[in-house]
Amino acid sequence: MPDTAIKASGLVKWFGEAEAKTTALTEVNLEAYFGEMVYIVGPSGSGKTTLLSVLSGILRPNSGSVLVEGTDIWALDADRLAEFRLNKIGFVFQDYHLFPRLTTAENVAIPLILKRKDWDESVSEAVKYLEIVGLKGRAQLPPVKLSGGEQQRVAIARAIAGKPDILIMDEPTASLDGDTGRAVVSFVHGNILNAKRCIVIVTHDNRIYEFADRILKMENGRLTGIEKARHEE
């Protein structure tokens, strides 16, 4: 049995109050393990992004707990939680959220800079991560000069630059065409995933299902089943 990276128990999250109250998560229980790539899939509004936010220490649940590598992240104060995210979790946002006024290398260096590393040292280290994602020659370009697929790779390089144990990817193929999307996820599966890392991806792109180790299906704020269990294939 592989080590548990994330263990969520009894997660409940709602938004609004009284008549405006909307329940996004209802009693969600989930475990993700090191060395696996887990997909959370489901229709729009099913609570996928809310679950991802709660799991990664971005959105506080109304009840339930999230243990990341055994640490109850929602018991941490705001500063320690921020530090925990910086050190343990890498994020790839749906819209990348790259800084257009910085070079590609400087964008990738951000987690290193936040960890109080020297600027120049961080940027030269960032170039190594750009090399990993196949963009070494693009280090000095601003992100706007790159294609969508390349920007996604820059976002991945930034996410892994902080050497996180857990990588959170929100709709990584949403802004990419089918082939590019598949190429990016294939790259992540082949090069970023390893035995000491867990990758959680929210998607509704069935063209990339083949790369998942497990696919968890959500509907109306509940995990309704496992669509695919790779290890069981």
Partner: protein, 378 residues
């Protein structure tokens, strides 16, 4: 923290359009504030020209005197009494008044006339031409070569004029550190000649200039002068009294204060608005930084750094621009009053700090309110 600040710096200056707009806003505000206050300080400085140029440590005057220009004559016994006071090293009379000169071309010109103590010539100006002892020559006057000198018909040594049917002769040219506020030329002569040539009321001593034996004697001299029914002020107190008169008892103070306030409000509005827009446009990126794991205090440091950097750069540019324009104006217009002092540099700096503080306050508030979850939701 150094890396975070460099990140803040790059985010700020790499957005050239916004950064330029911010700099222009603050530079313009600082320039306006500096320019208006430097004009005001220049006016105040020139209003005390006589006090500054004569340079006496203490001035004895009628208590009703508000500025050096409106002296009230004191009887001769005041001079004798002051000379007899404990702590007084020496005391001399000074005449300060205005006269109407008839120039060789037949035109009339008002002039300020300073009558120096005949014995000591205390408060005499530095001479550019001529010898100071020639002030004792018959009808001798020394003309001050300042911005208003040309109004005397550009005289030279030996030039003549008429003063109340008396002949006057220019025997020297002098320079002073501060020219008169009122745009009229200045002549120096002896005290006795001044009161002889210029029609005067019964009492003729405008001021008694006092040199105390030591600084510790000043309070006692003041007390004794007060007991005599007159007022003794140090040089700085007299300058302050004059400034207070122009600030609080004329329209100068309120009008210039309003203009300074308006320039502050303009600067605050332009810079505050632009900085806030800059923050709003980068809100998603600040949100992404927050999601990645940036602590709130690091975000605050970034915004404070951006606001402070912009404010200081704008301050430097505004001060530089103001100094440049004042310098050029003084080259072209010798009577130009504006002057930069530590006071108005400090005032403009204080206002820039307030602009930066207010701008960053709203930016910080906005950034701290961002929910990184919104970044996820896209």
């Amino acid at each position: 923290m150094k890396g975070i600040l460099k990140l803040a710096y790059k985010l700020l200056v790499n957005d050239k359009a916004k950064f330029s707009a911010l700099l222009v806003g603050i530079t313009f505000a600082v320039f306006l504030m500096m320019f208006i206050t430097s004009m005001f300080i220049g006016v105040l400085n020139h209003s005390s020209a006589t006090v500054i140029n004569i340079g006496a440590s203490m001035w004895v005057m009628d208590p009703a005197v508000q500025t050096p220009a409106n002296s009230i004559g004191m009887p001769d016994y005041v001079l004798d009494a002051v000379r007899s006071m404990q702590g007084v090293k020496y005391a001399v009379p000074l005449y300060s008044g205005t006269a109407l000169l008839k120039l060789p071309d037949g035109t009339y010109q008002a002039a300020a006339v300073i009558g120096l103590d005949d014995t000591s010539l205390f408060g005499r100006p530095a001479l550019l031409e001529g010898k100071i002892e020639n002030i004792y020559a018959e009808n001798g006057f020394i003309a001050v070569h300042d911005a208003d000198f040309a109004k005397l018909g550009n005289p030279h040594i030996g030039s003549e004029f008429e003063l109340n049917d008396h002949r006057g002769v220019i025997v020297g040219m002098a320079k002073v550190s501060t020219s008169s506020l009122f745009g009229i030329p200045t002549l120096y002569t002896t005290y006795e000649r001044a009161i002889q040539y210029i029609p005067n009321p019964r009492y003729t001593i405008s001021y008694v200039l006092v040199e105390p034996k030591s600084a510790s004697d000043i309070p006692e001299i003041k007390r004794q002068v007060q007991a005599l029914g007159y007022l003794a002020l140090t040089k700085d107190e007299f300058i302050q009294k004059t400034s207070d008169f122009y600030v609080y008892q004329t329209a100068f103070g309120i009008n210039l204060s309003i203009m300074t306030l308006i320039s502050f409000i303009v600067g605050l509005s332009v810079s505050g608005q632009t900085f806030y827009t800059f923050i709003l446009e980068n809100l998603e990126r600040f949100g992404a930084l927050k999601a990645i794991g940036t602590k709130s205090r690091a975000l605050i440091a970034m915004i404070l750094f951006q606001a402070t950097f912009t404010a200081l750069a704008g301050y430097g540019l505004g001060v530089g621009l103001c100094a440049l324009l004042i310098g050029i104006a003084k080259l072209r217009l010798p009577a130009y009053f504006a002057m930069l002092t530590y006071a108005n540099l400090g005032l403009a700096f204080g206002m820039v700090v307030i602009i930066a503080a207010i701008s960053s306050y709203f930016g910080i508030r906005k950034v701290l309110q961002i929910d990184p979850f919104e970044i996820f939701r896209g």
